[in-house]
């Protein structure tokens, strides 16, 4: 089975990566951290980065499902 994952980036992270999203396909289930590594080969996860799956916060070791939307972004600064 092939899993399709959308990966999104926001704010300063989006600018430093120079793109706002990736569409990935995997043959096995991965953690959020492994999704980052596949999408950004060789780039370590920046410190203080936050992650969400399907618009809920998750920790980096949670497992990603087929068709999930994974997002990475820096600490929020709204309000």
């Amino acid at each position: 089975m092939i899993m399709s994952i959308k990966v999104r980036y926001f704010a300063s992270l989006k600018e430093s990566l120079d793109r706002s999203e990736d569409e990935l396909a995997f043959g096995k289930s991965l953690t959020v951290r492994e999704v980052w590594q596949c999408a950004n080969a060789g780039k370590p996860l920046p410190a203080h980065i936050l992650a969400a799956v399907n618009m809920d916060y998750v920790d980096l070791d949670s497992i990603v499902q087929d068709n999930d939307e994974v997002a990475f972004f820096p600490p929020v600064t709204g309000g």
Binding site: R8, F10, A11, S12, E15, H48, A52, M55, D56, Y57, A71, F73, P74, P75, V76, T77, G78, G79
Partner: protein
């Protein structure tokens, strides 16, 4: 309960009046707590020309609804309104409005403060300050914001 993301400038006083008339029964509420965050023209020692506010459409609304729901579980909230600006913002424009209606004052103060603190730490918004032509900076993190002594 109403959550709005606004891509254009909004008048917080008008919004809160209009919402109060449409959603609250006259005579029902005894306390209204309103917090408004407004863009200043200086920050951390630098003059600010403007600001770009980015957000995560879908997740931002979802998190704000969750936060207001948490407040409703903890305090006797009759109704709440949250509005947050996104896009290009000029100094003196409102950024955020949190309004809470309750029967008694304690619930109004506590719930509005809870919503603001949770919004600051969990709602996916990001501010980029424009210091001048070609000179901009992303804010790194929100501060806790209270005297602790």
């Amino acid at each position: 309960m109403s959550i709005k993301i606004s891509a254009t400038a909004f008048d917080p006083w008008q919004e809160v009046q209009t919402y109060q008339k449409s959603a609250l029964r006259a005579g029902q509420f005894g306390a209204t707590s309103v917090f408004i965050g407004t863009m200043r023209d200086f920050n951390d020692g630098a003059a600010i020309q403007g600001m770009i506010l980015e957000y995560y459409p879908g997740m931002t609304e979802k998190q704000l609804e969750k936060i207001v729901g948490e407040a409703q579980q903890q305090w006797a909230v009759l109704d709440a309104l949250v509005i947050h600006r996104v896009g290009a913002i000029l100094p003196n424009e409102p950024i955020v409005l949190v309004a809470v209606w309750t029967a008694h004052r304690g619930d109004a103060f506590d719930a509005s403060r809870y919503i603001m603190e949770a919004l600051k730490s969990r709602a996916p918004f990001w501010k980029k300050e424009l210091l001048g032509p070609e000179d901009e900076r992303w804010l790194v993190a929100n501060t806790q914001g209270y005297k602790t002594d």
